[in-house]
Amino acid sequence: MLLRPISLSLALLLTAAPVFAQTPAAPTPPVVTQTEPRETIEGTLSQDRTVIAIPALATASVQNVAGLRTDSLGRQIAEVIAADLERSGLYDPMGPSGIPAVSRAEVQAPRFAEWQARNAENVVHGFVDASGTGGLVVGCYLYDTALGSELVRKGFEIQPGDWRRAAHKCADAIYSRLSGEAPFFDSRVAYIAESGPKGNRIKRLAIMDSDGGNHRFITNGQALAISPRFSPDYKKIVYVSYLNNRVRVFIYDVAAGSQKLVTESSNATFAPRWSPDGTQILYSMAVNGNTDIYRISANGGTPVRLTSTPGIDVGGSFSPDGKKIVFESDRSGGQQIYTMNIDGSNQQRISFGGGRAATPEWSPRGDLIAFTRMGGGEFRIGVMTPSGGGVRMLTNSWQDEAPTWSPNGRVIQFFRTTPGREGKSSLWQVDLTGVNMRRLPTPQDGSDPSWGPVLP
């Protein structure tokens, strides 16, 4: 996958500098930053949403690049940008259908008065040009129509097959500029695709973009697959496979299409998680019926046992600074949430109140922990601070389970199961404020979502 940010002054010179097309950008480690508490969205989605006009991206000349026409891509990229911004719940995109297309010359000289007349507070313009070296150059601009000012200018050189990523990068730049939040659209999700009857579910590892695009099945369904997690660099997926009727954690190499065991053991290993830097893996292991949490290098070696109570200690999620782990334990009776240092010291219960609390996931921003609350026959998704305060429930359904955070810590995905013989599982997401609940499109039923960081 090649997506290379470029300055748009370079873009104009690009055909004279074909060397750029051949050099993949080096992956950069995810940067975790703490930010101020975010604002709360009040009211319904129909109020206060900024109207953004997004006409089809222009092209200097219609060309066919690897079977894709630059003018068609201009419309499709605009559609993906509009869908991303709409899904955020903050914006009311207009176009590309139903509004005029723009010329290549207009991209840097918008007709502000016309967009104002359409009540668009902002307008997105852009272009898709052939790079001359088999790739594409995509530019996108965000303007304030009232001020007549340019707010965003982004350029990307891409391989034609990565055009959706260019659209997500544009949408991210627009979203970040207007909301002040970190980007999150250009990211991927690993999850479990489910099919077949409930008593004999076929469960396959699958991956897709954060909007459901570029969907791909990884495993064939012959062995049950559950609880996947993308490595921070997206090159690997750690998950549990019932291959050969055993319960074991595997690391799947996405590019190679091969997998290896996290650790050799005759015991069941499950509930794996990556450390934020991708060097360590947490997993749970049951020995004679007693489950504890272990940490091991992603390259193997000797595991370190972190818990030793007689109860079930399971799961676990690193804090974004890699110094603490939040996990669940039933040592007090029912499942509750605890934190500890990464060496297992200083184990402290943080969840109290009614019901049980499970599946904790530390926000990439570090400020909150998402979890599943069980009580009254229902599972709901909630958040609390790392010290257990400020509990807020975000969903209210029969069974919502297993939250996972967007890269910017603003949106939570989870899976929802409906009761009964015909019960289904599906992927959903909700804003941190509990509004903007949406179902993710998947080709089959879905569960166990795992949202990765923003792509480099």
Partner: protein, 172 residues
């Protein structure tokens, strides 16, 4: 909170359990044992191979291959002990046979916790069989958590049938 309310109910559950067993997935069922005839097991004389899964079920009764647990519990109660004693007698008559103890949970737990809970249940049953003299090396354990319910449904009745540890013959 126990599921054994009456003899009639046991009979009903038995019928359902047999059906659920027959519908098990190929990928969760071990390979069918080959009838080598080397065991001197309690064959029924009706073509059932001694030491086979069919022989086991014929001996312990269709319901006798599993024990049930209360919500979030894994203790082996008196009725479970009786079931496991019947199983141990068959296992001691067929000393070359190995079995898998499958631990299961109902759908009212989170996925990873339920795998841990199924491990507890399968090990509780394994330990009881071992206490009766069955060599524990003959028993392997696997937890399916909530992944393989025997009874589909979101009712107390279905949940009670799904909180189980099932003994399955895997060969010798």
């Amino acid at each position: 909170m126990t599921i054994r309310k009456s003899t009639a109910m046991i009979a009903a559950i038995t019928m359902l359990a047999v059906g659920a067993c027959a519908k098990k997935a190929p990928d969760t069922l071990p390979p069918a044992p080959e009838g080598t005839g080397t065991d001197t097991g309690a064959g029924t004389g009706t073509g059932v191979v001694p030491g086979s899964q069919e022989d086991f079920l014929a001996s312990v009764g269709a319901m006798g291959d599993r024990v049930f647990f209360d919500y979030d519990q894994y203790n082996v109660d008196a009725q479970d002990q009786a079931t496991l004693q019947t199983q141990s007698q068959w296992l001691q008559r067929n000393p070359a046979v190995r079995v898998t103890l499958e631990g299961h949970a109902d759908e009212r737990g989170t996925r990873d916790y339920n795998i841990a809970l199924g491990e507890r249940r399968a090990n509780a049953a394994k330990n009881y069989l071992a206490s009766l003299g069955v060599d524990p090396s003959r028993i392997q354990v696997i937890s399916y958590g909530k992944e393989r319910p025997a009874e589909i449904g979101s009712t107390e009745e279905a949940y009670a049938k799904n909180r189980r540890a099932v003994t399955v013959v895997i060969g010798r």
